[in-house]
Subunit: 246 residues, 2 copies
DNA sequence: TGCTCCGCGTGACATAAGTCATCGGCGGGC
DNA sequence: GCCCGCCGATGACTTATGTCACGCGGAGCA
């Protein structure tokens, strides 16, 4: 995977500008801005492309600004001394990233990398600051999306503190089945987009435990695994398992 | 512990008003307000007293507003189905509580209870909203304190995901030693303000493991325990243990 | 003074989590 | 077609975590 990130310098090409404005218009926190305001912001935003796996910034790097996902998906994660990773969030087009560290002056609290090829818009700290002061509604919107972020983090803490890997894995499967599952005669079918290593990072454990727990769920008849396709045979029972264990 | 919370209705007594204004003046997010603005806010704030252990609100309760700690200390925590608790934050005078859920319309994501007798000021959702729109700097201040909160949550996730109970316990002791330890000839002396059950909730584990790990640290010569006083005999070595284990 | 409740320490287990090593398959690149 | 590297499965262990049960001792109360 060669490092082939290309940084455009503030939109020298007009079509790029338009593109940026369109992206920004779809971002919740900028939803209340007028077209001219969006255009202005788009002009100051810098588009950067990242290839799959490439790091956008690292935990501890000084925070120079925030990003908006234009296309692709990014993951926000922490890395342990031993090399393990814990995913905090995955965000797709329209999501803002690192809205918070922009405000408290500290470094980025976690790393961000592209999961697939990505196009991100970078908005500098100062620009964003000025925008918030000029448009109080933007701050409120930011607070709203940050609220959601905080809820998710609390959810992760809850899961890590109270539940087992098995439980978290089931939770993940159930969520996937509900959100993007395809109904079949035998149940619901889902496709895992990532390898076991990545699943482990999302669940806060290691590769082997994901593998073992998946096998066990299959042995118990809850699912049938075919490569990265998972047939959830008894969705209701699987959800029941979530309640069962304390 | 009888429920002896008393709700004053919007400050009918003048001295209470003054009191509230003084409290509010010390809250970071209101630091930029003028005296008259503070007075106005104080007039609309409702003071409520809570006795030690009493719950302020519960996880899942509809969010009607935010609180400011006037005196005492509160704890923010999650409760598991099995009755275990995980502390997310402990906040003293001047801290704001539940600034975030106010904005995203959801319920309170965690419970809050008084650790010691407390006096809190309640500020309704609408009042706070209006304030933020009228004073954009307030939003920015809120974003700053929320940033700190998010960092702490990420830190908790990191610890839960990557480290052992022993490691977290050592971390807690080291932090206490640095923040409120007293130097003696033999090392640093700290006093635990709470019982093992509470320590366990702060570390995300159970009473027994706290007890065992403390005993083990003593057996290893790192600390000497006398009731709730802990002599940290070799502070440097203890800090070294934090790096050692992955 | 005696009793009871609470907090604490511990032993004995059961089980979950994580590490290390190995094996087999599949697919991409040469 | 062949080789190599990534990925997944799995066995064998070690260690951490959590549960249950029990005993001790001090503080507070009748």
């Amino acid at each position: 995977m060669g490092r082939i990130a290309i940084a455009y310098n503030g939109g020298t090409m007009p079509d790029l500008k338009t593109d940026s404005a369109q992206t920004l218009a779809q971002v919740p926190i900028f939803a209340s801005l007028t077209e001219s305001e969006l255009a202005f912001l788009a002009q100051r935003a810098v588009a950067r492309n990242f290839s799959a796996g490439e790091q956008v910034f690292g935990e501890g790097d000084p925070c120079t600004g925030m990003y908006v996902v234009s296309s692709g998906t990014i993951r926000i994660y922490k890395t342990s001394a031993g090399g393990r990773e814990q995913v905090l969030s995955m965000d797709g087009p329209g999501s803002s990233v690192a809205e918070l560290p922009v405000f408290d002056g500290g470094a980025y609290p976690a790393s961000v990398a592209a999961m697939a090829d990505c196009r991100l818009l970078f908005i500098s700290k100062n620009d964003f600051h000025a925008l918030c002061l000029a448009h109080p509604e933007v701050s409120l919107k930011v607070l709203r999306v940050v609220g959601a972020r905080l809820r998710r983090l609390v959810g992760i803490i809850e899961e890590l503190s109270f539940t087992t890997v098995r439980h978290r894995l089931i939770g993940l499967l159930v969520r996937l089945a509900q959100r993007e599952g395809t109904k079949t005669e035998t149940g619901v079918e889902i496709t895992l987009q990532v390898n076991n290593q990545e699943l482990a990072a999302q669940l806060g454990t290691v590769r082997e435990l994901v593998s073992r727990n998946l096998s066990r769920l299959q042995a118990e008849g809850f699912i049938r695994i075919e490569g990265r396709t998972v047939h959830v045979l008894r969705p209701k029972d699987l959800e029941g398992e979530l309640e069962a264990a304390g």
